[in-house]
């Protein structure tokens, strides 16, 4: 590629994008738990998920990013919004939030914080080996060979679980079969 070095793009942008996306995710996460209106929380969650998809792209996993957008942001969040809107039609969002479990909440938050600190300190040594080689063009193929080869059983069990969940939901919700 005869591209002049002055206009070379590659690694300079990565830290900038990482901090930007992480910032978006953090702010979005905080908005999710602090908004009174549940629809606003759901929309903040959507921003978090989209930023997460972008981070997956940065990790050279475009397939996972695409699937994240389709399934999470475009499917599960739509489901969330459906439920919120159908159940919440008369504006129960105006209820006061309550904080009666502060002891358990603080303990859980401190434990999670300790976990983050431990990961930061240990750095990359936590993971014993590289899980996947980071060639971007191969991501889909690699995921496919792993999923349908090595982890076939787990994949099928997971889909069976989902089927059971769907049937259970339908049985519980219908007035008559």
């Amino acid at each position: 590629m005869a591209v002049d070095t002055a206009f070379n793009m590659a690694p300079v942008a990565t830290p900038f994008f990482f901090y930007m996306l992480s910032g978006i995710m953090l702010i979005g996460g905080i908005l999710v738990i602090t908004r009174k209106n549940p629809v606003h929380s759901a929309l903040a969650l959507i921003t978090v998920l989209l930023a997460q998809a972008a981070i997956y792209l940065m990790l050279y996993a475009p397939f996972v990013a695409g699937v994240q957008i389709i399934l999470y942001a475009g499917g599960i969040m739509v489901l969330f919004l459906f439920v919120i809107m159908l159940v919440n039609i008369d504006r129960a969002a105006k209820e006061r939030t309550f904080n009666s479990q502060w002891l358990v909440g603080s303990v859980a938050a401190i434990a999670l914080g300790g976990l983050f600190v431990a990961v930061y300190v240990k750095g990359g040594n936590i993971f014993p080996e590289h899980a996947l080689s980071v060639i971007e063009n191969d991501n889909t193929q690699k995921v496919a060979t792993m999923l349908y080869g090595q982890y076939m059983f787990a994949f099928e069990i997971a889909s069976l679980l989902l089927l059971v969940a769907i049937i259970g939901a339908v049985v519980m919700a219908k007035k008559r079969i």
Partner: protein, 433 residues
């Protein structure tokens, strides 16, 4: 120093022109911006043209003329509509959630326009070529469902909310059928010499080129059935007739964009037409050979290549001729003088474009874009034709069709396509266990 920088810039721009990659893949920011601008402008022009075409074609199907007054033959009607919508009062319902009300059309337009990053107008004529191209397109177009749900919610009224939920339920249901049809086509891409398939849009068209057959004709009738499933699902996905119950006026529940007026409504309208063009682009890329010219095998050879490469220029010259013909037929009255001159001027512009397209250097670059655009235009005509012909489906019949008819058909086609594709291997393993 400045001269040197200028030289470097020019060399940078020119160097790209001789490469064989899309600007995004090559990392060439200048051309990326140029292409994005071109896509944006082209899409806007396409939506404006679609508006005029829809009214005219629908009118001609209904034995009437359509807009004739605003500009010659109503050509300026979409611009008049746009100006009217811009000048309308921006009404926001009293109890509406203003942030969400504002964001909903933005979300829908964002989803509709972002999709065009990966649409391949030619082997190097896309903004970028992601290797998850088709997945990206399906994913981002599923984000528009969010915008619709937000629009219905923000209107703070029962009927738009129910309409929005219905609309989004319909879109989500038909996305499943669309996905299965798309997977059938992707399976066919893996049947080329290298043995690996690809999700990249340019790669899919190149697979069709390599295998020498458009996927709609592959494993006949499987490709055709998959195409048919996608064609029906894409009409339901974009909320167009005959699946437009959610926005029909004669039903009880109003559409999700009831409370939107003026420019906000025009954003929804823009997003709807862009989404139509986007899903048509998917269909064209996956089944109709993208930018490939028709009959590559039957009518091959350099003379046929030459003839087919003349098509863009000849099309524009033909349109220019139609403009001149109609300009001559205009009434010979002083009131019509400006219209006649306008139509003739428009014809001159089209003719010049046509002549430019006959120049060999331009011809080579433009013919891919032309064939792609022509196929997408055929789909647009089909959309308008459906609207004029079919009654509307009732909502429960619509959902029934999506889940009980198209989904099993999609699964069946997928299994049969995979079997047909692997048939040599299966045969081999049967006879040589």
């Amino acid at each position: 120093m400045g001269h040197e920088l200028m030289g470097q810039l020019v060399q940078y721009i020119q160097s790209y022109l001789s490469s064989d990659q899309t600007p995004g893949a090559a990392g060439n920011m200048f051309w990326v911006l140029v292409y994005i601008l071109a896509v944006f402008v082209g899409l806007s022009i396409a939506v404006i043209a679609m508006n005029w075409l829809e009214r005219k074609i629908l009118a001609h199907m209904q034995v009437r003329l359509g807009p004739m007054r605003v500009g010659p033959h109503g050509l300026l009607q979409p611009i008049a509509d746009a100006i009217k919508l811009l000048l309308k009062e921006d009404i926001i319902p009293a109890e509406a959630d203003v942030a969400i009300f504002w964001m909903a059309p933005f979300m829908v337009v964002l989803a509709a326009f972002t999709v065009f990053i990966v649409v391949p107008f030619g082997p190097t004529h896309a903004v970028t070529d992601m290797n998850i191209g088709i997945l990206f397109m399906l994913g981002v177009s599923s984000l528009s469902v969010l915008g619709i749900v937000m629009a219905g919610w923000a209107s703070n009224s029962h009927y738009p909310l129910i309409g929005a939920l219905r609309s989004s339920a319909q879109m989500v249901s038909y996305e499943v059928a669309m996905g299965l049809a798309v997977v059938s086509a992707i399976v066919m891409t893996s049947l080329n010499a290298s043995g690996t398939g690809t999700l990249s849009m340019i790669g899919i068209v190149q697979a069709q080129q390599e295998q020498g057959v458009w996927f709609i004709f592959k494993f006949f009738p499987l490709g055709l059935i998959a195409f048919f499933i996608f064609a029906v699902a894409m009409v339901a996905e974009t909320n167009r007739a005959p699946f437009d119950l959610a926005e029909a006026e004669s039903e009880l529940t109003a559409g999700f964009h009831t409370e939107y007026s003026g420019f906000r409504w025009s954003l929804f309208f823009l997003a709807e037409y862009s989404a139509m063009i986007a899903v048509s682009s998917i269909a064209v890329t996956l089944w109709l050979g993208g930018w490939l010219r028709p009959f590559p095998n039957l009518l091959s050879g350099s003379t046929w290549d030459l003839i087919f490469s003349l098509f863009p220029g000849v099309t524009f010259l033909f349109l220019a001729a139609m403009c001149f013909f109609n300009a001559v037929r205009m009434p010979k009255h002083p009131f019509f003088r400006i219209q006649t001159i306008g139509l003739a001027g428009f014809g001159v512009v089209l003719g010049l474009i046509g002549l430019v397209m006959l120049v060999p250097a331009v011809r080579i670059r433009v013919q891919d874009i032309f064939w792609f655009a022509a196929k997408v235009a055929a789909f647009m005509y089909l959309y308008i034709w459906y609207r004029g012909t079919f009654p509307r489906y009732r909502f429960d019949q619509l959902m029934q069709m999506g889940w009980k008819v198209l989904l099993p058909m999609g699964l069946g086609v997928l299994i049969l396509t995979a079997t047909a594709g692997l048939w040599p291997l299966i045969q081999h393993s049967i006879w040589h266990p």
